[in-house]
Symmetry: D2
Subunit: 152 residues, 4 copies
């Protein structure tokens, strides 16, 4: 598979431009910290504005950042004229969303012309730098070409 | 099952108090609009602060509101001293997150002493009131009793 | 959506012919008992050859029959020259796989040109006819046209 | 977590005894080929009795073997008097179920007193030994103690 895959040389610019248009990422204070073909990382500080009832990061915020990480990991391997859509994802919450900062990694498990499957991990990072796995995602993404309104 | 289930008469107050502590719900402008034993609805207006790159509501925000709706549907059937935790959920995105307002419904499919399974639907509502199914969720919730920090 | 959908008049023959080629359905003793556009039902007797360690029907057998029910529900709405592939599914086991017979229903939740989402329910039926919901599935199916080896 | 986990020294015998009671594993020709604390592998030859309509291994059979691999990976880390139940799983089908033999690996991602999360991979192996990833699973398993009929 690797032999057949020739990444768009412009993948990083495309990923960063699309991410910059995701207002939801700005709202939660998330930043792109790694963009390589097939792997994308997003980080955000803890924010008391996005907690659930026990004071931990809301599972939906974890899903939001993991979905963007997985979606852009998929998008990084798509052709230049493609848009990316999430078909579905599943998230397992493994530990409370506790941490000073959070790291979300998305990696492509199975590239494909139409369907791309990506897996993600979310980590809560303590002030001393210790990281704890707090959630995993499996997401199914779709390459969309030539559909108006679905560019990037 | 119904024969054995006696709802806590105070369920609505408990659900509303816990929801009020979810800062993430305040952040996205979400409100509780229905609380019955086993069914909870949440509504929110469209917000351009929580869009993805094509201008639609971010899939993660849809997941966030569906998770709260499913979690509180489960919580509404739990004993008075219980806390609720999400173990995992899966979301299928069926149509773009477009709408003037959004409605998220969570319903308990299978109550249980420890594990509760709930299903959710998300609708985008146009200005003329037409509703469109935009996503579904299946979530697995856990009843937690006597764990410090997991009250409500 | 319904307005735009014109079912292939030959859908039932196509579904039955494809089901007949699924040796796995023969192996577990499963039969097609309902085929309508968008809804398919499969039934099977309890078989002690397909139990798990506690003597209940194995979760994987439940998944197998639900996957076929959901897949053929999707296939029943596809064009005559299409093949159907399962992209992914999630199963929640709600009660032990106990019963004299089992009924598996798959229904299309969201038709689509490429992606079809279907939901399924599995019931264990006692000798007296009482049915109990034992599992649910959400599956994502894909319409495949013109790929050799993926006909029907 | 590892520091706190003391495996039952008898884990392998317990896993093998429980697996031997899964008639469904016998039916599909599956064998346990690796049992370590937290990782279990199952192998089976291709069987034309368990194919779907295109002649590939049925997705449900892949789910069945992955569920057993993930369930026993979880069970291997449980206390001696526990039984294991699958709460839910999700399977992504990444490539056709083609191969002379199939290998299914289940690994514990997150141990826990009540809830154990395991991830699985399924490989199709060609006659020349080349392995291809055909599916992944994430499963949520539950430790059950003292429930009649759920031993092992």
């Amino acid at each position: 598979m690797a032999a057949k895959f020739i990444p768009d040389p412009d993948f990083e610019r495309r990923v960063r431009a699309s991410f910059a248009r995701q207002n939801a990422m700005t709202a939660i204070g998330a930043e792109l910290t790694l963009v390589t073909p097939g792997i994308v990382e997003i980080e955000m500080p803890h924010s008391s504005s996005f907690t659930q009832q026990h004071g931990y990061l809301h599972a939906g915020v974890i899903a939001m950042a993991l979905d963007s990480a997985c979606g852009y990991a998929a998008f990084s391997m798509m052709p230049p004229d493609a848009g990316v859509l999430t078909i579905e994802f599943k998230v397992n919450l493994l530990a409370p969303g506790r941490g000073d900062r959070f790291l979300f990694r998305g990696s492509v498990t199975k590239p494909g012309r139409t369907i791309v499957v990506a897996d993600g991990q979310a980590y809560g990072m303590a002030a001393d730098g210790e990281a704890r796995l707090i959630a995993t995602m499996t997401g199914t993404m779709m390459t969309v070409i030539g559909r108006q309104g679905v560019e990037g």
